[in-house]
């Protein structure tokens, strides 16, 4: 039996729009199930009250364009704040583990936030992880994204961070939003191998996913040896989810969480509000608290209906050995990259915000540093829904940046601020000093969170 902290925050007064999957009704039946079971009354379950995340907590992760206020509602602050409350409870040792059942979700939100992507504006897990690093000094953290959609936002945020292991299994991107998460997306040149994607064929069942867990996820975690494991807990692998095509069950989710034993789970997607969520949330909670879940199942659950086909298992085995190989050759590959790219690496990308129809152009450059993960700069432009085009320049100093990189990056910010007037905003995200600046170029005003 474990002491498990829970926040249940259904945001009964918030929706993206009245008929959107991310609406008030989403956790209504979960509320019914959890409260009717009376699980919150058990002595080892501790219900916490959410709080609002600070804007600074958000600026630590995101460049919100033009500013934090523009990209969030109070609901986002509460949802992110819920993860922070759970993190505090776990890291202060008040509970053994914790589960934030809060909405709206976050795992599609990327570093630069021009709008809503995949129902997400800000990334709850990433905000929590950077908060934990600042507040409690942890460095190595693993995120296992169990949502059916590729956690592209979390991947992007930690892509150049060798101390964050990001593992996502999901329905193959060729068949589902956001269309990414392929095996070859393995991390930036200096963090290669700390991103592991496992695209699974549609109709994958409990058996297939648990195979991936046992033979790939758990061994990789053991070798990486993180100080904390976070489950980015989407619930849309469920066989009744209306937006995806997998065959995972509540019991499968319970089993997954028992074996994974995350320190913290944060709810992500899952839109089968009646036939999946009440059971999956209950299953997760029971598994985390160490309660036997043999009596928990969906009303129409029949074990024989969730066997994996031999063909799928063979395919899954192939991915497993492929990704194990990649993970284990990461040091060697990083050394090769260091030789190959010298002191700087750059790339261009286009990012599409499906919810709001925004297209973002990005040019990113990473300073390759022998002593630290290196600082990043991002040149980004996008036309927002209100018709305004924003062209912004972002500088990001990682938490564990070396003094040279910190200095170099800060100088770069000062140079940009002084001489470069092509941009609407210039941002400095200094995680090392925990100071965040947004410069409005037009009026020269700096907004600072410190």
């Amino acid at each position: 039996m474990k002491n498990t902290g829970v926040i249940f925050f259904p945001a009964f007064d918030w929706a993206i729009s009245p008929t959107h999957p991310e609406r008030e009704e989403r956790l209504l039946y979960t509320r019914d199930q959890i409260f009717e079971e009376g699980i919150m009354d058990l002595p080892n379950i501790h219900e916490f009250k959410p709080r609002l995340a600070d804007k600074k907590d958000i600026a630590r992760v995101h460049f919100c364009v033009p500013n934090v206020e523009a990209q969030i509602t109070d609901a986002h602050l509460v949802s992110a704040g819920s993860a922070l409350v759970i993190a505090d409870a776990v890291l202060r040792g008040e509970v053994d583990n914790g589960f934030s059942i809060a909405r709206p979700p976050g795992h599609h939100a990327m570093t630069v936030a021009h709008g809503n992507r995949g129902f997400c504006n800000i990334n709850n897990e990433a905000i929590m992880i950077e908060y934990i690093r600042k507040q409690y000094g942890l460095r190595k953290i693993a995120v296992v994204d169990t949502d059916v959609h590729h956690g592209d936002g979390s991947q992007e945020i930690f892509y150049d961070d060798p101390d964050i292991l990001f593992i996502s299994f999901h329905q193959d991107g060729r068949t589902l939003y956001p269309g990414t998460g392929f095996v070859y997306e393995l991390g930036g040149p200096m963090a290669w191998g700390s991103t592991i994607n496992i695209p699974l064929p549609p109709q994958t069942t409990d058996e297939g996913i648990l195979r991936v867990l046992d033979k790939l996820v758990l061994p990789v975690l053991e070798e990486f040896a993180p100080e904390l494991i976070v489950n980015s807990a989407g619930q849309d692998n469920h066989y009744t989810d209306p937006l995806a095509n997998m065959r995972f069950t509540a019991r499968g989710y319970a089993e997954l969480n028992r074996r994974l034993a995350p320190d913290i789970a944060v709810l992500e997607g899952g839109y089968s509000v009646e036939t999946a969520l009440p059971y999956v949330n209950m299953a997760l909670l029971m598994a985390m608290a160490g309660i036997d879940y043999a009596n928990l199942h969906e009303p129409d659950y029949r074990p024989e209906a969730f066997k994996e086909s031999a063909k799928n298992l063979e395919y899954i085995e192939q991915i497993i050995s492929h990704q194990l190989f990649n993970f284990r050759s990461r040091q060697q590959k990083i050394e090769e990259n260091r030789k190959k790219y010298g002191h700087e690496y750059g790339e261009h990308q286009q990012i599409y915000y499906d919810t709001e129809g925004i297209s973002e152009d990005q040019a990113r450059r990473l300073r390759i540093c022998p002593a630290c993960p290196g600082w990043r700069r991002i040149d980004s432009s996008a036309r927002h829904r209100d018709g305004k085009t924003y062209h912004v320049f972002c500088i990001s100093i990682p938490t564990f940046a070396c003094p040279e990189c910190q200095k170099e990056a800060f100088n770069a910010y000062q140079d940009m601020a002084m001489y470069n007037h092509h941009y609407d905003y210039i941002y400095l995200q200094d995680r090392a000093k925990d100071r965040y600046i947004a410069l409005n170029v037009a009026n020269g005003r700096e907004e600072v969170y410190e």
Partner: protein
């Protein structure tokens, strides 16, 4: 004239209140004989009645500890439980009482049957219960508050096969969400119902025999409201914790202000603390707790400290001076042997309570023994008392502020309990409360009626009634968590929040009339309202409304608030 009688663990208090003049005419206090509650109660009544015209008595309200005692002593015959849990938590979590039997069958959160009952299995269980010599059976199903059919079917089978059994079903006894609490509440309700009913009827008879054959006779409940005695027969557990409820309502009556206040009832043995939020008593968020188990009984949230005016002040060489949690007798100033907390405050602030000289003499002996000066001793004990009370207050505030929130609005508008005054009631309040209030930098409030505020609270409290209503327009039905009341929605019209309100009002009116509280129905307020669009495949297929409606605790119309 109104009569309120509060049977407490130590004393039974009674008050005769003239509501025309808004003044207390007579008060009575007798020691409670716990094995003979009826006699204590009638002794108080008989002391209040002489000289009163029977026709002038308009109302009698009783607050009793009978059910509390039955629950504490476990002397009533235990019921058997037939549980219909379906999938979810392991069954062993549900087996918290002896004679619990789990049967097949399941209902989901929308009230749909997901597994059928097995009649044969149920008949077998009934036989086992009969063979075990039990006569009471509580039938409780998960989500029976969304569809009571399974519980009703099992009840029917019991009535067919075991007609002598007394049966109760969870949806009627405790319809709120939370199966575990429903089990506990149903169990205790069935356990105490017979004994409570015969007790209440005997009392009623005895009162009628005193020439009071037409006077309305009400029972005070844990939520600070009353209910006619005849209607209260069905709800034994509602009468628990009515003592603290009486005190809290009494405190509200004497202050006559709807502010945020702390109510400290400092008796001889214990201090009970409750809160008034804008004049409304704060309820325990998880319901009354009985024998360490949460229930669905709405109760005023009270915290009890083992610290009162009679708590002895002791000295031991190893421990130094300390306050003992167990009462040994009255304070020295009232003829006791051992100095108590009251003696300390009496001496420190020259309060002139009882024989103040005795207080200081006994403390001088203690002071010498402890090797302290008298001022040091007084300071030390006062500090300890204040520390204990302050800590309890902080905890209560924090607990309330940290109650979970489920809406964005609630988190943004964070709760903060700002105390405006501390209301002292109970015998030892006048000694302690002013200092505590000063430390908190708020006003203290002590009224000459403070010592009998509990009986007064009982006399003046008005009836309460509360229910939650769950409306599912796709299913075309609604259910309340009160007595299993539910029904079908009118067909062929789309429902809006105003229609939901109207339906709830109608149900409130009907329930109130059935329970003899019709005149208060229009005072009912909505305390919660939520509406959810049910969307499937991007289309709206229905709505779910959740409403909470309540006749809040308050005072009867015959009493003007603020007139004391």
């Amino acid at each position: 004239m109104l009569i309120g009688i509060d049977v407490g663990g130590t004393f039974t208090d009674g008050v005769l209140f003239d509501n025309q003049q808004s003044r207390v005419v007579k008060t009575v206090k007798v020691p409670t004989r716990n094995e003979q509650l009826q006699s204590s109660l009638l002794a108080v009544l008989d002391a209040l009645l002489p000289g009163q015209e029977r026709g002038g008595i308009q109302r009698i309200v009783l607050s009793t500890t009978l059910v509390t005692n039955l629950l504490a002593t476990n002397t009533a015959e235990p019921p058997a439980l037939i549980l219909i849990p379906g999938p979810g938590l392991p069954f062993e979590y549900l087996l918290t009482f002896p004679h619990s039997y789990i049967v097949k069958g399941s209902i989901d959160f929308r009230g749909r049957e997901t597994e059928k009952l097995d009649r044969q299995e149920i008949e077998g269980v009934i036989e086992t219960i009969r063979a075990a010599g039990l006569h009471k059976i509580a039938v409780v199903g998960k989500f029976s508050n969304r569809n009571p059919q399974h519980e009703q079917s099992v009840r029917q089978i019991i009535m067919d096969k075991f007609p002598d059994a007394e049966v109760g079903i969870g949806s009627e006894l405790a319809g709120q969400l939370n199966f575990m609490r429903r089990i506990t509440t149903s169990y205790y309700a069935l356990m105490t119902r017979q004994r409570w009913t015969s007790f209440a009827l005997e009392i009623e008879k005895a009162i009628r025999e005193r020439g009071l054959d037409k006077v309305p006779l009400d029972i005070l409940k844990a939520d600070g409201g009353t209910m006619p005695l005849r209607n209260a027969l069905q709800y034994p557990c509602e009468t628990i914790l009515s003592g603290p409820a009486a005190s809290t309502m009494g405190a509200k009556a004497i202050t006559g202000q709807n502010t945020n206040a702390v109510v400290l009832d400092i008796g001889g043995t214990t201090t009970d603390i409750s809160l008034l939020l804008d004049g409304q008593p704060l309820y325990a968020s998880r319901g009354a707790c009985i024998n360490g188990k949460y229930t669905h009984i709405k109760a005023i949230s009270t915290r009890s400290l083992p610290l009162g005016g009679d708590s002895p002040v002791c000295f031991e060489p190893q421990k130094g001076v300390y306050i003992h949690p167990i009462r040994r007798g009255p304070a020295v100033c009232f003829g006791g042997e051992c100095p108590t907390v009251t003696d300390i405050f009496n001496c420190k602030y020259d309060l002139n309570i009882g024989d103040a000289g005795q207080s200081s003499q006994s403390l001088q002996r203690l002071q010498k023994e402890a090797g302290l000066t008298l001022p040091e001793l007084l300071e030390l004990v006062e500090h300890d008392v204040m520390q204990q009370l302050m800590e309890a207050l902080q905890n209560i505030f924090m607990e309330w502020e940290n109650e979970p929130a489920y809406r964005v609005w609630e988190v943004v508008h964070n709760r903060k309990f700002k105390v405006k005054r501390i209301i002292g009631i109970g015998a030892a309040a006048s000694a302690i409360v002013p200092m505590l209030a000063a430390m908190n930098k708020v006003n203290s409030f002590i009224h000459e009626l403070s010592p009998i505020a509990n009986a007064l609270g009982a006399a003046l409290a008005r009836p309460t009634l509360a229910f939650n209503m769950h409306i599912d327009t796709q299913k075309g039905s609604y259910f309340t968590d009160y007595d299993g009341v539910g029904g079908d929605l009118p067909r062929g019209q789309s429902m809006q929040m105003v229609d939901a309100h109207k339906l709830a009002r109608e149900v409130m009116q009907k329930l109130a009339e059935q329970r003899g509280l019709g005149e208060y129905a229009e005072e009912a307020e909505f305390v919660r309202e939520e509406q959810f669009n049910m969307i499937r495949e991007w289309d709206r297929i229905g709505k779910i409304f959740e409403l909470g409606m309540q006749i809040k605790p308050g005072f009867i119309k015959e009493f003007e608030e603020g007139s004391l």
